[in-house]
């Protein structure tokens, strides 16, 4: 009798312990899973890079190579603006609204990137490229993530052709761009002339971030580039 009671008591305690441990364990695993965040994977190639083949004879024919057979984003190209530095970028589709700071080249000749500190998670405009709305490709980059987690262009992989990107300039004019194409390039074969050059006639915007994290070398091996052209301007 005594033995059976003792056994029943032990069984009850073990049942309780097991239930509590399993419940708490499940909660923690669910919390950890919910905390997982990974940047959306950009498509390899959607859309056409040169928005209007008729606009600007300087359009690089190679620029549209390897494009999907998706019809080009139509819509007129707006008249170019004069020079005025960008101060803020807004990408409604992915909830981006960020200040934009000017940035130059790094010592190794690559585009410098925002450094740890208050500006780390801000977008940056390459100061030798046209200001947004001027003729040619204006370059704005942002980190996909930093040591602190997701950064300003974390969700750039979700941007698609026809999406809108707005850039407010210091002169108070907002340059509105329409996305033409998204490309995922390998850094080792990064087509600099397509990204930083190409059609020098049409006011365009390029958004750049990192993609394709290679876990074995702990580095991103790709760069996602969003190609857009100026479709309107307003104050």
């Amino acid at each position: 009798m005594r033995n059976r009671f003792a056994a029943t008591g032990r069984r009850g305690a073990l049942t309780l312990l097991a239930l509590v441990a399993v419940a708490a364990g499940l909660v923690l695993v669910v919390v950890a899973v919910a905390a997982q965040q990974s940047a959306p994977r950009p498509p390899r190639a959607v859309g056409r890079i040169d928005p209007s083949p008729t606009a600007g004879a300087a359009a690089n024919p190679r620029a549209s190579a390897s494009a999907d057979p998706v019809p080009a984003v139509s819509g007129p190209t707006s008249t170019p603006l004069g020079a005025s530095r960008p101060v803020r970028i807004t990408i409604p589709r992915i909830g981006v609204r960020s200040p934009v700071l000017p940035i130059g080249l790094a010592d190794d000749g690559t585009l410098a990137v925002p450094q740890p500190g208050p500006d780390l998670d801000k977008a940056a405009w390459f100061q030798n490229s046209p200001t947004p709305g001027q003729p040619g490709p204006s370059i704005i980059e942002g980190h996909v993530d930093s040591d602190q987690g997701p950064s300003v262009f974390f969700r750039l992989g979700d941007v698609r052709p026809h999406d809108t990107v707005r850039v407010l300039r210091r002169d108070g004019v907002t340059a509105v761009f329409t996305v033409d194409a998204v490309r995922d390039f390998q850094k080792r074969s990064f087509p600099t002339s397509v990204v930083y050059g190409g059609d020098l006639h049409t006011p365009q915007l390029r958004l750049i971030t990192c993609s394709d994290f290679d876990a074995t070398i702990r580095h991103h091996v790709g760069n996602e580039v969003v190609f857009a052209h100026l479709t309107s301007t307003h104050r």
Binding site: R11, A21, G25, V29, D145, S146, S189, F190, S193, L200
Partner: protein, 251 residues
Amino acid sequence: MRKSLRALVPIAAAAVPFAVLAGPASADTGTSYQTTLNALNHSSGSGMATVTVHGNQADVKVSWSGLAAQFNGGDYPHVQHIHIGGQGACPTIADDKNNDGVISTTEGGPAYGGIGTTLSTKGDTSPKAGTDIKIAPAGGSTDYSRTITLSNDTMQSLQAGTGVIVVHGLDPATLSKQAQKEKSDLVPSLPLAATSPALCGALSSMPSGGVATGTGSTAGVEQLGTFALGGGLLALGGAAFATRRRVSAGR
């Protein structure tokens, strides 16, 4: 060559493929320069230019619009050059030495230097063709693309960061009364407006390769500690159940 040095040759040769692999690999070979072209002398134009150098050849693209379109009833010729050997900068109104409201080509000289290469539409690209309006792009806008041979002087200036693209030719109506009566400092038979700089841009290196915009902090598994604790508790729960079953079985 000394014997010991000669012995090193195969080693050096073997190292070459690695050196090539380690270099900044890019689909575009050659060095590229770029600039935006901004208005000088109250001209209304704007544009952009790129110069991609392969050996002594250069793919030059110059695109601009908004300049004076007509001159003496015809398309306005806009001579354009890579200027070299100056400060690698565009002049400001402070360089208007004679205070006529126009920075002449000569007055801009200290900032952008002299003509290194003439960006003509055909034929001669030397400084001698600098004022040949017959082979200059004509009209209010252009999309110029030409592969040319660069002189050593121009090449060195590009590398030194002192190459400047200048497009000439102003609308005479935008000049002061005084300046409208002046003759060109380059070609005395032409008015000052015809040869004065309208657009200017100092060439600088195009970024090379890709961009380091990420650390991968979100690429792996986050909250490892939470996962471990949760997993540990699940294991403990499982063990407790197993023990309970043994206790029941041993009844």
